[in-house]
Symmetry: C2
Subunit: 719 residues, 2 copies
Amino acid sequence: MMDSKNFSNPLSLRDIRVTDDFWKKEMELVRTEVIPYQWDALNDNVPGAAPSFCMKNYRLAGELNARRKADPAWQQPVWTTGIFNLVPEDINNREERFYGFLFQDTDFTKWVEAVAYSLTQHPDPQLEKLADDAIDVVCAAQLENGYLDTFYIINDQSKIFSNLRDHHELYCFGHLTEGAVAYYEATGKDKLLKAACRYADYIDSFFGPEEGKCKGYPGHEIAEMALVRLYHATGNDRYLSLSRFFIDERGKRPYYFDTEADHPFEAKGENPPLRHFYHQAHLPVREQKEAAGHAVRAVYLYSGMADIARLTQDEALFEACETIWNNITTQKMYITGGIGSTHLGEAFTFNYDLPNDTAYAETCASIGLVFFARRMLQIKADARYADIMERALFNGVLSGMALDGKSFFYVNPLEVLPKACHEDERKFHVKPIRQKWFGCACCPPNIARLLSSVAAYAFTENRDTLFVHLYVGSEIVKKVCDKTVKVSIDSELPYSGKASVRISASEPTSMTLALRLPDWAEGCSVNGKGAEVLYSSSRSGESAAEGGSSSMKSVENALTIQKCMEEIAASAGAASAELRSGYLYLTGVWSGETELALDFPMQPRIIAANSAVREDAGKVAVICGPIIYCLEEADNGADLHLVSLNCAQPDFEICPDAVLGAPAIRAAGSRRKPQDSADLSLYHEYRAPEKKACTLTFLPYYMWNNRGEGEMTVWVKED
Amino acid sequence: MMDSKNFSNPLSLRDIRVTDDFWKKEMELVRTEVIPYQWDALNDNVPGAAPSFCMKNYRLAGELNARRKADPAWQQPVWTTGIFNLVPEDINNREERFYGFLFQDTDFTKWVEAVAYSLTQHPDPQLEKLADDAIDVVCAAQLENGYLDTFYIINDQSKIFSNLRDHHELYCFGHLTEGAVAYYEATGKDKLLKAACRYADYIDSFFGPEEGKCKGYPGHEIAEMALVRLYHATGNDRYLSLSRFFIDERGKRPYYFDTEADHPFEAKGENPPLRHFYHQAHLPVREQKEAAGHAVRAVYLYSGMADIARLTQDEALFEACETIWNNITTQKMYITGGIGSTHLGEAFTFNYDLPNDTAYAETCASIGLVFFARRMLQIKADARYADIMERALFNGVLSGMALDGKSFFYVNPLEVLPKACHEDERKFHVKPIRQKWFGCACCPPNIARLLSSVAAYAFTENRDTLFVHLYVGSEIVKKVCDKTVKVSIDSELPYSGKASVRISASEPTSMTLALRLPDWAEGCSVNGKGAEVLYSSSRSGESAAEGGSSSMKSVENALTIQKCMEEIAASAGAASAELRSGYLYLTGVWSGETELALDFPMQPRIIAANSAVREDAGKVAVICGPIIYCLEEADNGADLHLVSLNCAQPDFEICPDAVLGAPAIRAAGSRRKPQDSADLSLYHEYRAPEKKACTLTFLPYYMWNNRGEGEMTVWVKED
């Protein structure tokens, strides 16, 4: 059940200054490496990289508009619209037409979104000028009626919205809107926002429940959540209704996509719902129980569903979100927060199907999982959501970018044999080394916009509560009615669990601070209190699963917890302390300076997968705090399939700065003696394996592959 | 080095009567089930199955010929030739044109080959009449110039041999020739043989080293070995030269396939050799060191190479065959004798890449490996070849057909989770249940022709030697000069190693009997002699690898072996006994009846794979004699990834007739306790696994999947 009292929203990034050592470094990489590179890329200025054509397309669309206005009799040439990725042999000798992937507009709109976030943390007039000028170009491409997608503006305007399933117009609109809102919120400039509104108005006039309007919905979701942002930014209800319309229409019979002229004869097999899985359009969304189809599309949709569930207080929709969330996180998610087990359709597969070496686990899908998690947190601050959000961020997302910010992974496997990536077509999607850029450049800009807005995921608020979901060192200005409170967070995460929260109120202010107690922080304490009970009590659902406790014992427990809460409240000068769903709520009237010392102990832990995961049977993973570790050939030699971890006595040792400046974890393991090189037999009489003790060196998964090609594995055989 | 004294050839099947319990049953299945079914299939008379169109196409080609002859001015309509598998909506309302796959002619030619072999063992005038009538239809389709491929006869004769790479004409010719020779040898009737010769003559006039002739070669090999059979049957040297020409041309630069008009612009990337891997045309064959590309094409080529190496005493070619043989059998072969690790191109991949659950291991590829092995044996009776031939026959080949002969596997995986086959597109090629028939029906007829000619693989001969490669119970008439010797073999294989050989000579005849000592028969004996030394001495290469023996010890060994040989010779009434490459050679002047009692002990053995095979690390397989065993869900429950074999103390027990009438092997194992169903966590703190002792029931791999869908695995975790 939803309770609107618990709803929350991200703060304006202008009210947060990120100071965190770890995240600040990532954000600086985005600012100094990714954003400039991306600008060059979308202007076709990266030697050796596939041209984007993005700004060229906008410019051409603008010129065509101008010509059309100057001479209403002028007939624009019409090209075929079935082109997916047209690239001329010589970029300088190209015809006047659209080039690149048909969603190429988003190269700009994602860039401008990252720029916007970056400007909130690091004002940069030169960069802002660059963005303003680019926005002028983009806005010049907009048609009189508000339509703004260069593919159809250039190619054939009669075909607008005729192929929603494949042609990404509403996806491009969604990114345009996200970028426009972000830029407006960061700079106060509304030129792009107005363009997005005009386009949204056009879409609203085209689609809708009213008779005569089109009953379609996006082939690639994102417009749903983008429209919600536009609604928040403008207060215009129609954008909320349009988002809800898209969500409500999805999966209705007859299938809208089947009625589209561009693919009328295709794949209308015996099993109609199956063929709409890819687009999550196989069933009305409230009836969907499993994460299905293209993973990025899926989590973008679920994010939009969560937004609408919250804003319209739609219990059935929230229930669908919860069901799908549980399905993903208990049956379809890699330990890294990666999702999408197959490259075929970049998609979810069946429950517990989590192959490590052929994983897709697209960076963008993990990013989408972060979106979804934050939106679930906005409905209900349950640490289950934040735990996964943190997991995905530190692992499945960060692994997508090299430590120097200069190369990227689309696909984030959990086990790699470079030879297989080169020679086995089934693994061609798994790159053994990060790539400079991609023709279909979705992941790098997506990382850029997420990392530069990480504070929007770390914190949410409602009227009188500040939620700390992630301990990202920051200075936050929290408004409570007409008062403001400053909250400073210091954090040594992810490699130490020490953190502190300082509340500064110039006048007494009533406020609740909701602090997440991470799932990995057994023995955590606040101001030195609660190490015995805080962790286990914070996750009642989980401890209940450990076995029934007698009612006598529960009474005892309740008393212990109450005592602990009183101690913590007293130490923090708060009126009350309370545990709910993995969050510690400290409520009080704050004045002056209050400092809370948080301690989230972290030590290396050995993790096993559900026994239903066949690929991980007999294997374990090592994690420490929020970080998943892995073995790399560079530290452990080749043939990682021959090593195992001594699970009974791992003798873990954390070695600060040992690998690439990060702590490595050394552990006791063993290595099977490989077959004698003189023995060429492929099969031979079994002999008890000879094993040699060895020291294994684990490094954070997100840092893998920063030292050239080599084997890697997250899951190690147990011994 | 080759030594022509050791060369041998298969005997005429008319000189062998197979009496073997095991193989006779398989051959009867082919005779009573497969051949009639196949006849119905190629006449489109199987309700519910994709029509073959095979005989319809032959008939139409014949009618067009007749029309052309009757009216030379008549213009045959021309259709496009780019059609791969055209199937009309309603088979009765089809236009007068070619339908089905473009190699559909081989549905008949493979059938007639199986019929021929079957007639040698089981004369059947009615079946022979059916074949004769069908041959009339086929021969009527032949053009005046000898060309005989209905695809181009019907579609567009101007395009004959214009797309050798893809269009299978020379493949169809090969099968036609194999069928024609087999039918001639079985029945003495030469109508089809003459047609094949006329077609071969036409091909010989088209292709060849002479100026002006085409320098192409088959896109799908088989013509190479078929021409050798035609040469043996007719004595016509030109067929041998043509085969050699195809082998010599293959892989020469510039690549012939690149010059073909039908695919001039395709895939001419930066890496020319790579794109010809699929067709084994990336390098001249003598320079090829690794098995590459489409596995069936590959082993068909290697078989042809071995034929030509022998007949032309081409050392370099033989060396290439040996290198490739070693590569396959020590780096690219499943323990079942399956080859081809990927469904993408049905192809070989890199060394030691042997995934069990995505294996292709096509039935036809194992059949081709049997072809290759027999041809290597013809050059040199080395038990290494026969061991693999036997392995493939009893396992990777037989698994292709259900026990009732009514359904078939193309793909023979070593691990199956039916859910994955249904829901994971990456495993759609792995069928969880045998299929009735295939639109592209290569495997079932290939099994039929192999099983009904198994005696041609079990035995070869040269002037005075009879080689027994496989112990297939048979009565053999061996001609030595103008005398004949009868050799009767009784065999309890594959489930007991007792066998006997009876030699009956009505007059004293000098002959050598070469008996293979199987690689699995440790402690084997002849007439009760040699149990101590015969096995280890028979495989000097292997025993040498065990570690150097002092020269003193070798002298001792040599004496022991010599004594053993003398004892065996004496017991057999032979002049001499000798061990060479895993064969026991008994030479003598035989008269009257001589009986040899052979004992090849078999007990369950645990086998491990080379440590370089990642997918089998920490796993073992169980084999007994020539049979590979597996675990099925039907006997062991689901979740086979949770069970392991107690390798230290397996307590094997053979239970006769326990599963599907075959012996099952029971063994001590354990099963991991699955995760508590109340615990939904996908990842959790590691706990030492709880294991429960259990009894594992193994059944012969070739019998798997005869009791409906279920999990199966050959490789079991070691404990």
